[in-house]
């Protein structure tokens, strides 16, 4: 395999940023469609959201030639550079999602939500009062609303970062941004699904609705991914020389198996089949969704594995694609 400037650290970063964006989005969505049934989804999504992207950004900084000089990113706004816009976007998203996560910390760990009610109490932590439930609910709703577009922004940014590079024909299509966005949303939803499945539930109240929300959201997102992948393949194959040649990297070329087995089979078709199987009774109006820990865990893990391989294939295959003709040096 060729050696590429952008390697596994960048792959991980794109994947982790996507997971966070998706976890926040599903949490925000659950907050807004409301009701006690979706409280757990909103909470788990919120508590997960800040961390993967924080780790991812850490990896990205480590990948720099001069990690300690990263702050140069924040002395400027280069509006023609997706990476510059993305840096600011990620900073805003991580900050906001940390506050949002704090608002969802459950009792008895909710000391983060204690605030001084009088000026003279500022230095007396024991006198700080827990925010009123009404205030917490309102703050959650506001941050969910503000953060939702930010999370979509982070999700789509990971695709634009690659897609906005004309000299890499494999990347250079508007479909890439949407594909990465839907994949991000799907991996975030799958993470929440996986965690809810692993935690289990103390009482069955509302579980049916919760599962239906997560599984059907993921089905919709996976189908949207398919709707992006088909035109991605067609447009490339029917496009100019450089573009049509670049798609051969996954149509017989070096990344064919990674793409068709890793992305399409493991990441899309299998989890879609499992989730469709789970939802069949609901679709046919014959009863509750089929559910087991094994099914949910399997579909969740498959979506995550597929989402990771998707980024692996795109980061590497993109760097292997060039304008043609390439003159041997």
């Amino acid at each position: 395999m060729e050696t590429f400037e952008w390697g596994i650290l960048v792959v991980n970063y794109l994947f982790l940023a996507g997971v966070s964006a998706g976890a926040f989005a599903i949490s925000s969505f659950a907050t807004y469609i409301g009701g006690p049934h979706f409280r757990r989804v909103a909470r788990i999504g919120a508590l997960i959201a800040p961390w993967p992207v924080a780790v991812g950004v850490g990896l990205l900084v480590l990948d720099l030639g001069r990690p300690l000089a990263f702050w140069h990113l924040f002395l400027t706004v280069q509006y023609t550079s997706p990476m510059s816009i993305g840096s600011w976007l990620l900073t805003g998203f991580i900050g906001l999602s940390l506050v949002y996560a704090a608002l969802w910390v459950p009792a008895p760990f909710d000391h983060l939500l204690r605030v001084p009610t009088r000026v003279q109490d500022v230095l007396h932590f024991t006198r700080w009062r827990l925010l009123a439930p009404q205030t917490i609910r309102r703050a959650r709703a506001i941050l969910a609303a503000l953060g939702f577009p930010l999370s979509l922004g982070v999700g789509i940014y990971t695709g634009i970062l690659l897609g906005a590079v004309p000299s890499r024909p494999f990347w250079n299509t508007p479909m890439l941004a949407q594909l990465f966005l839907f994949s991000a949303m799907s991996t975030g939803t799958a993470t929440v699904l996986l965690v809810t499945a692993l935690i289990g539930a103390r009482h069955a109240d509302g579980l049916e609705e919760e599962r239906r929300l997560l599984i059907s959201s993921d089905v919709v997102l996976i189908v949207l991914e398919i709707f992006m992948l088909i035109p991605f393949l067609l447009h490339h194959a029917l496009s100019t020389w450089s573009s049509a040649s670049s798609i051969e990297l996954i149509l017989g070329g070096e990344y064919t198996l990674w793409f068709w087995i890793g992305v399409i089979l493991l990441g899309i078709l299998l989890p879609l089949a499992i989730e469709a199987y789970e939802l069949f009774p609901v679709i046919l109006k014959e009863g509750a969704a089929r559910y087991s820990l094994a099914l949910s865990a399997a579909s969740g893990v498959l979506v995550l594995v597929g989402g990771f391989i998707l980024r692996l294939v795109f980061v590497y295959a993109g760097q292997a694609s060039h304008f043609l003709p390439v003159v041997a040096r």
């Binding site: 030639g65 140069h72 990113l73 280069q78 510059s84 590079v165 004309p166 000299s167 040096r329």
Partner: protein, 185 residues
């Protein structure tokens, strides 16, 4: 304002004069202390083409095209890559954080990552020599006289005269990068 301020440095390469001796690469690497294994310029090989006995072989030397519309500058998140008033594309090594996005954006693969310094580097058109009134090292050393440099805005410069009297091309013209390295074959 004098014409000095409106300089537009460019290069013309006559591929028919290139014999693939790679002296330009050696001169550049010594002049600019390029890390071992990295190159700021190169000699590409096109061919052999055709069928015996009408075979063809052509060499295509190159370096950073100092594009008028540089994609590397556009994607740089810190503004480290910039274009000088005379059109030369340079890197501010204090601002470069080594993210290598510019290397993805350059269609000419003209940039390399300097591991030791943690920054991206490339041909500077030998600005240090230009500013002292000397030609770029690769131009000065070229044994076949294939490499020419000069002010594209000055109709009496060597490059302007060559371009006015010869058919010429640029690489990946369709990319809209408007390179300032021109080729006469």
């Amino acid at each position: 304002m004098t014409s000095e301020n409106k300089k537009r440095w460019g290069m013309v390469i006559e591929t028919r004069r290139c014999i693939d001796c790679k002296a330009c690469m050696v001169a550049c690497e010594i002049e600019n202390q390029v890390p071992l294994g990295k190159h700021r310029n190169w000699v590409g090989q096109i061919g052999p083409t055709g069928t015996f006995p009408t075979l063809g072989l052509r060499f295509e030397p190159g370096n950073c095209m100092h594009c008028e519309n540089p994609p590397c500058e556009r994607v740089c998140p810190t503004g480290a890559t910039y274009q000088r008033e005379d059109g030369i594309v340079l890197i501010d090594y204090d601002k470069c954080i080594g993210c290598r996005y510019c290397m993805q954006a350059c269609p000419y693969d003209a940039r390399y990552f300097d591991q030791a310094r943690g920054v991206v580097d490339k041909c500077t058109f030998c600005v240090h020599r230009l500013d002292a009134g000397q030609p770029p090292a690769c131009v000065e050393t070229c044994v076949g006289g294939a490499r020419h440099y000069g002010d594209l805005n000055d109709p009496n410069s060597e490059v302007s005269k060559l371009l006015a009297t010869n058919e010429h091309t640029v690489i990946y013209e369709e990319a809209g990068t408007e390179p300032k390295v021109f080729y006469i074959s």
